[in-house]
């Protein structure tokens, strides 16, 4: 019996509850809880938002307002690898747009989309602060600098 019960408990849910308990009583808990939840689930599914609302007594509408305000939060799942293409000023001036084109062509998706096999999600961001190496992209927080369109295929091949 006990094994059956344990199987019913979702390990992600346990982690989520831990995160909520950790922050619930501090001042301004919502953003740290949402960040933690997104780390566990990869994005913020509707049932998670509802659960957070119940546990913190913050209305769903307010949570939704916060989630849609900040660029970090997402309401749809991401691929296994997240590509952030930098189009900050330095990258823009040094040909970042050509890098975007090359990646979009290689993966056949555009900004904000995920490949059909779930391997990559593409996001254009304003600056990742590695301007000295422009143009740059980061994949799963790993920065690749001094790029040109011909280097793209080789870099993407390293990520499964």
């Amino acid at each position: 019996m006990s094994t059956a019960c344990e199987e019913l408990v979702d390990p992600k849910q346990i982690k989520l509850d831990e995160i909520i308990d950790k922050h619930k009583h501090s001042n301004g808990p919502l953003i740290p809880i949402l960040q933690g939840a997104q780390e566990v689930y990869g994005y913020l599914p509707a049932h998670v938002i509802k659960h957070i609302s119940k546990a913190t007594r913050i209305p769903v509408a307010r949570i939704y307002g916060v989630v849609t305000f900040y660029a970090q939060f997402r309401l749809t799942p991401v691929g296994r690898n997240l590509i952030n293409i930098c189009l900050g000023t330095a990258c823009h001036v040094r040909g970042g747009a050509k890098v975007v084109e090359a990646i979009e062509k290689e993966l056949k998706i555009t900004d904000g989309a995920t490949t059909e096999d779930g391997r990559f999600t593409l996001e254009v961001v304003a600056c990742i602060g590695a301007c000295g190496l422009a143009p740059v992209i980061s994949i799963n927080n790993e920065v690749h600098g001094r790029l040109s369109p011909d280097k793209i295929a080789g870099i993407l091949a390293k990520y499964e």
Binding site: I31, Q72, A90, V93, I128, A130, C131, V136, G145
Partner: protein, 598 residues
């Protein structure tokens, strides 16, 4: 041989992405293999500033700089430096003027013209070790304050130093502290703004990564002067390494008794927390930042009341940015007079600039206020890449402006730049050459401001979108005669009526480019030409029959098959402009320079 030699490997975000981290391991292994572990040690430091040439490493105490080092070079460096006492010439920097390799950092122009106060420890110490910070006079400023100075005296010292906020507006720091100190309250907060959202600026990231204790010490001193007992560092989530290093530093400072209750037995309490931002440029604005910490949408509110009166959770709050806080320990340690010797009459001290774009030496540079743009770009930055012609320098990010060549002898300080229609801002300097289109740059920034506008006030929400639409049309060759007047009117209205700095300064890139590069706008509108050959819609490609050898390479590579011709029948190659998508492939492929772009 020499006692205690160190190899400082830059492990900041820039060099780490150029491959610095494996080099540290290989260095350690190689030192062991060559039996040098007693005399030579390896330190992974924060940003050394010379991102362009990364990964970089410095041999101490001789101060030898090696650039673009790879794992394969390690064995040779160790053997030459520590066994033979010689240099590995091919990895030294080559001076562009003399074409000779330079070994000592003091002789390298990139470093020689800098004066490092805030970056004093960056690239020199291991940021993950508090003892390396204290060994270089770290925490002496707060000790001095707590042991012998009243909070008023500390504040006076900061006022006297003439330090002004490094986040953009340049408000005198001591004065700002005073407002918060004067407000009676049972609870006060201080905040470090590390939401460095300006594209093209990365000094705050580098300071947090490379010398996090200096920020903590600055905040401690500020908290003591203001009478606050709790602080937050609001850091962008895009800076994982900065957050990690700051987290380690806070823990170490707590263990060492610099943070917590009854600090150094003085009865003064201060607790510091990190708040990870969730990605919104507008949160760099004080009231929006505080709303974000409170767990709300990060939207600014009307001031007054100013944060010094009613800030975080309604309590008096003082906010400064990373670079400002990091200046404070130096002022306390060395005194206001010492600090006042650097800079100009109204802008004291140094400023860190992120030098990027089409310049030879990209990286992080710290110079005294009052240094000219020409010195920064052509001496420290070593001029324009690929021998091209300088066109403009964009200073101050989306709130700043572009300055042309005849403004290069301007001394960089708050007031001079504001007068010229730009601003120091956070200190991003993006260099542009003749191939950069200034209308496109204005369009780029307006696209940014439009996306980042929080939507609360109408002038910013609607105005940035309308201005972007006009600029977008102009770059597509659909500009109208009246567009420039409309743009100017909109820009002035939005500047005057927006709620916060984002909207008030969003028109700056337009106003500055209209002021200095109006002819480029006119060429787009009247002649349907982009003088920089950058705006795709305005380009036309053609093949010069005289130069064409009919090799057919252009036609074979054209993605839309719009080039036709035949060598056998001696039909010259021509481009069908209707079908041409102006991708430029033909120009890249032609070996004879027969394809031209106009």
């Amino acid at each position: 041989m020499a006692e205690n030699q160190r190899i400082l490997v830059c492990a900041g975000t820039g060099c780490a992405s150029s491959g610095a981290l494996p080099i540290i391991d290989v260095l350690n292994n190689e030192i062991k293999r060559q039996g040098l572990e007693k005399t030579v040690s390896v330190v992974g430091t924060g940003c050394q500033g010379f991102c362009e040439k990364g990964p970089t490493l410095v041999i101490e105490p001789q101060q030898i700089l090696y650039t673009r080092v790879t794992e394969e070079d390690v064995a040779e460096i160790i053997e030459q430096e520590f066994i033979k006492g010689e240099r590995v010439e091919r990895l030294l920097l080559v001076d562009q003027a003399t074409q000779k390799p330079v070994s000592s950092m003091g002789d390298i122009r990139f470093f020689a013209k800098q004066h490092r106060i805030v970056l004093h420890n960056c690239g020199v110490i291991d940021p993950k070790k508090i003892e390396e910070y204290t060994a270089r006079d770290g925490y002496k400023g707060i000790v001095k304050a707590l042991k012998g100075m009243s909070p008023e005296e500390v504040m006076e010292e900061v006022k006297k130093s003439g330090l002004r906020g490094r986040g953009g507006a340049g408000f005198p720091t001591g004065l700002k502290w005073g407002f918060c100190r004067q407000t009676p309250s049972d609870k006060k907060y201080i905040i470090c703004n590390a939401d460095e959202g300006d594209p093209g600026a990365f000094m705050d990231r580098s300071v947090l990564e490379g010398d996090p204790h200096s920020v903590i010490e600055g905040m401690l001193i500020g908290a003591y002067a203001i009478g606050a007992d709790e602080g937050y560092v609001y850091c962008r989530a895009e800076y994982p390494l900065a957050i990690k290093h700051l987290g380690i530093a806070i823990k170490q400072a707590e263990e060492a008794g610099y943070l917590g209750d009854n600090i150094l037995g003085s009865g003064f309490n201060f607790h510091l927390k990190i708040f990870e931002g969730a990605g919104a440029f507008v949160c760099g604005e004080e009231t929006a930042l505080m709303a974000s910490i409170e767990g709300k949408r990060g939207m600014p509110r009307v001031r007054p009341p100013f944060p010094a009166v009613s800030g975080l959770w309604g309590k008096p709050t003082n906010i400064n940015n990373v670079e400002t806080w990091s200046n404070i320990p130096h002022i306390l340690r060395n005194g206001a007079e010492w600090y006042g010797q650097f800079g100009t009459e109204k802008s004291k001290g140094t400023k860190i600039f992120a030098l990027t774009g089409k310049v030879n030496n990209t990286g992080l540079v710290e110079v005294p206020m009052g240094t000219t743009l020409r010195e920064i770009i052509f001496d420290i930055g070593d001029g324009i890449q690929g021998g091209k012609k300088f066109k403009a320098v964009q200073i101050g990010g989306p709130s700043g402006g572009c300055l042309p060549e005849d403004m290069l002898d301007l001394a960089v300080d708050y007031d001079t730049l504001t007068q010229a229609g730009a601003m120091v801002g956070s200190g991003g300097l993006v260099i542009m050459d003749e191939t950069t289109c200034m209308v496109d740059i204005a369009r780029y920034f307006l696209n940014f401001s439009k996306k980042e506008s929080c939507g609360k006030c109408t002038p910013c929400r609607e105005g940035t979108t309308r201005m972007y639409e006009i600029l977008d049309r102009i770059t597509k060759g659909e500009g109208k005669e009246e567009d420039l007047d409309t743009l100017e009117n909109l820009a002035i209205t939005i500047k005057e009526t927006s709620l916060c700095g984002l909207g008030q300064f969003a028109p700056s890139p337009i106003l500055a480019t209209l002021k200095y590069f109006r002819h480029e706008y006119e060429a787009h509108i009247h002649d349907h030409k982009c003088p920089a050959h950058n705006c795709t819609a305005l380009l036309s490609y053609s093949i010069d029959v005289e130069k064409c050898k009919m090799c057919s390479l252009c036609a074979k590579n054209c993605p839309t098959n719009c080039i036709s011709g035949d060598k056998k029948t001696n039909t010259p190659y021509v481009i069908d402009e209707e079908k041409c998508i102006k991708c430029g492939t033909c120009i890249e492929k032609c070996k004879f320079g027969a394809v031209t772009r106009a």
